[in-house]
Subunit: 358 residues, 4 copies
């Protein structure tokens, strides 16, 4: 069988590189274009020494129109607004696109522009774009030309809370997500704040009550609670949460600790049943059960999401916890999972291997 030809725009960022790394071992796909703005004509393996002997190709520019003619699928791991500024119907007729940026994640262009502080240049594709969370939107992803690959924090937060919201086991007005991410999520840009000596032996919150992943979580949990039109919770309000990201001095990994008041008479067994209802068959979700605390080390390097929860009878709250690798299930692995679905391949192809430890 002919391999799927994949191009990566933004291949020299951490997420773009992870797509390249994962595709190297994918039996049905190959990377034909390592797109880069900064490193054109340089050997890819000079920039990522791990890829030496695996990907010694020269980086090419980020000419998506030319790429679309050569490729079957394009992964865009680019800054916010980039893809929205250049995407055309012509490109989408040539090949499929999996966008790792946030450009097509939010259906409401006003919400996008308000949180991202940039104008959206191609809102005409918003309706078509499929939010690429296979565990929720599997069938739609299969049909998609354009997939909006979810954010790292959002993947973790949404999937950890999804069954509880969907089954109305919690009060949707009480959701708090306290999330912590490894530093690869901050990208490879040269900033003082991300220097080793600034991050190492440190811990901090950032973007409190203002992080851009907030409306993405709210929109998706809103769909889970109600319907696509309304997304209204009791009282007629939209679902609104507190989301607090923190920076962890580790390379990879996100843990989301999620709090919510339980609805009346909800038991731990109800919660377990909800997780099993939605996730028992999911190949990339491991529900660890009541009382279990997921750890980032147990998912590192894999496309897995681990979930556990504690029900606190003293406060009638549930504390639901999810852990994933932000570079894999939170970005590149999920993008490949979406590619698999879009091309009719087994969803787990090239993605089912145990996490690396230690």
């Amino acid at each position: 069988m002919k391999k799927i030809k994949a191009g990566i725009i933004g291949a020299t960022g951490y997420a773009g590189h992870e797509v390249a790394r994962l595709l190297y071992n994918h039996p049905s796909a190959e990377v034909i274009w390592y797109g880069s703005r900064s490193y054109v004509d340089q050997s890819y393996s000079k920039i990522y020494g791990n890829m030496k002997s695996f990907a010694d190709d020269s980086c090419r520019d980020d000419d998506i129109v030319a790429l679309a003619k050569e490729a079957d699928v394009i992964f865009t791991a680019t800054p916010q607004g980039y893809l929205a500024g250049i995407l055309t119907e012509e490109i989408l007729k040539e090949c499929k696109v999996v966008d790792l940026s946030a450009d097509y994640r939010l259906k409401d262009v006003k919400v996008y522009e308000s949180w991202y502080k940039i104008e959206h240049k191609s809102p005409q594709f918003l309706a078509e774009a499929v939010y690429g969370l296979a565990e929720v939107n599997r069938e739609a992803v299969k049909q998609a030309r354009l997939v909006a690959n979810p954010g790292c924090y959002t993947t973790c937060s949404i999937l950890t809370l999804y069954p509880l919201v969907k089954e109305h086991l919690i009060d949707p007005d009480t959701i708090i997500v306290d999330a912590k991410s490894g530093t690869s999520g901050a990208g490879r840009g040269a900033k003082v704040d991300n220097l080793f000596c600034e991050v190492n032996e440190n811990f901090k919150a950032y973007g409190v009550a203002s992080h851009r992943h907030t409306p993405e979580i709210e929109e998706q949990l809103g769909y889970a609670w109600g319907d696509e039109e309304a997304r209204r919770i009791p009282g007629g309000k939209p679902l609104t949460i507190n989301f607090t990201p923190h920076l962890l001095p580790i390379n990879r990994g996100i843990l989301a600790t999620c709090y919510a008041k339980l609805a009346d008479n909800v038991t731990a067994a109800d919660i377990t049943a909800a997780y099993e209802k939605y996730y028992a068959e999911e190949p990339f979700i491991r529900f660890l059960g009541e009382g279990a605390c997921p750890q980032t080390r147990w998912v590192e390097g894999s496309n897995l999401l681990d979930i556990g929860f504690v029900q606190d009878p003293r406060t009638n709250r549930v504390i639901a916890m999810g852990a994933l690798d932000n570079m894999v299930k939170g970005a590149a692995g999920q993008a490949v999972q979406n590619m698999n679905l879009m091309f009719g391949l087994p969803e787990t192809e090239g993605l089912l291997f145990p996490p690396m430890f230690p």
Copy 2:
């Protein structure tokens, strides 16, 4: 002036060692007894190589009765239940005691026994013991013979929330504390879970809804809300919180991210005013203001607590954040601060120096 003679029971644990380190540079105190169960007669600087040439004394046993005759103050950095099992009126007549364990922190012996799963052997001292949070109980500490030095998580959580609770700016039934601690808080015991390769590049929650620092925070915030007798919040219930500790792959530092619903019409200015009312004169609290996110690196090695907050108008919650060094303000530094007060010394003596960075 004659120096205060200090003995340390449990001097070879991390907290006991930190007391020794801090006292080395204290102008008015000196360590005369490095008590240890495991290393009797071994040189203290063999166990803590940093102390070579500073404290080459041999470790002595943990005979508190003998020590009480020699010392002016005893610091006990011992396992839960240890001090409660051996403390006598005789000892307290001989010298003052600062207990870094939890034995005298909770006034209600039943609460202690229920969370710690051990019998309390000397409840007769509970009434006398002063909870050693100088920022709240300064005058009582000055008079105390026996100080219960607060826990690390609890110091951070209580002080971060205290002005908000005291001024009734938040709904006390909605408090959630999501806390993260460096690994020195887990002690120096040889456990697989605390090995480098298990902690490094990992992040996890633990003790969810069951950590022993929970009732300590609840009791103190209850006092802040109401009165010592009742500690009842609206509805007649006791103040109850969710407290979730997490393990950080750093040596030192705690960050507590605290959530609560704001009372009606509370503004950011009200919150700022409350913090300034209680902390403007506090030598060890730096209120960083609205919008500021404290970071553990900015307090490392110091007795400082940094506090900042964000008011979220979308959810009407406040996110209050506190950062301290668990070994200093969360343990040994606070113990020395209490010693200073108990002996009529300037409260900041030996403790006022900038944090070390990087």
Copy 3:
């Protein structure tokens, strides 16, 4: 084709676990026995949470005789002396053995006993055992029943120096290996010295002039210099080196910085030619060339060894540097590489994937 049935004795140590993890994705082998002394009957994935859904088998005991009847190959990741104490001709008639301990690495039983301070219980297998460094002993490994899998430091040190010694480009009496290893090399035993807070933010040498990997490097470089009998360098002495290991606060990775005086008139081009002569076709060695400094991050998680060198005209020394992942090429990956050879499989099967970064 029927899969090779593999048993692991010591499967709950880091190295044994890495064998299990690598074999999970090996197309021609499967693990049928997770042997453990401490965790018999416990689920393997309780001990290694990453393996959940991949290896939920219960741990079995370490009965190698029973295992030999079921397995085609046994990997022993056991303490020194263990395999030597139980290995029999009967076992070797039943199945092949790859020993990750040092029991059969040194041909001279006296050298073994002098460095390891234990009696060797089965010296009769020493002659037969093949030192499993495929890049040097490939043909012998293919024929072997019993392979002594090289040590982590030794693999890195020997292969980095091998072409230089073999081609007599350096003075063998001037070799110094200054090596640094990640902490996974210290194993999963609960020791204070390996606690997070003791290793993190620290660096130290240990085992200076006394580490057990020293005679292993000396023996193999001796063969490279001369012949198997003599191993004599000019002057009639045996080849003797200085080997200094250090502990790195990282999970995985070894860097060996090797120094030696160059023979007269040796140029950088000569050195490059020697590396290319021996390694140009090696699938797991990437020779990075003159002036290149290998980094552990570029090999992490892979079976690769990266080599670079600098020739210093000021001192007429060469500084040759090698980097590998101690858990893979330094232990489990090399063991699987040896298994592949012993069973007539392609040498790279299940082992050729890019290192993980970051």
Copy 4:
């Protein structure tokens, strides 16, 4: 007594900040000028959050002429060539200067220009400048107007080897220094190579056979071997070494592992005697004795240098190891030590406190 007025040029780099931090607690000095090129008029404690409430002054520019009129001493923690380009006799008449850059460390301007690749703009001060290694040049430092504060690697390497070279216990033609440094040594510049994800979980050598600290070590050890004029070792050559720096994923700390052939009949007792001869009275050197391996954790945050050694009878080499904190004894602490000497203060003033652990 009036406090010494100190100005810092380059106060917003790591080394300049460490000078500020150490001087805060110095009883006889105070910082009156936080000079910065990038942050003029910004609050110093905005840039270094740890200094909040300790140093909230605004940063001033780097006008050294103006500063010289106000200050008693100037610390320059500036890029190579900066001070050499602006230093004048006028400035030196106004105040003393401790230069943390390399501008006046090497007596031979050609050596400087060859290793640093820049022209030296004020060679007229080279003769006057005193190499500020108090343990070797104490009396000269006391008289100096201009002190060249030694480099971090060089302080560690020179002091570790000094007694062995001075006493001719080793062959000076066989010296190899394999050194490892924490990342704070790389400064606070925003470079991809120093990002958290690039340094964390990594280890590498760099600047092999070309690092600029090499000639500094060679010059000083040359003086130790012979005399200031000649610096010739047997054979009439200058003393030449191999120096290999490596980057450690820790914030602070340098370990230098030094190798050399022992002269005939030198015993471990001779080596111990040499260290004791030179260092027994040194307040900042802790000689740990034969067989001891210094660790960076035991000196972190302090002005101490720990030294240990192993004599290897198999190879007749000594392995001498030194550990210090690159920010303190390797930079700012040593600068303050020099200031103390230059102003007739006790050498240890403000610098004698135990290292911080963990």
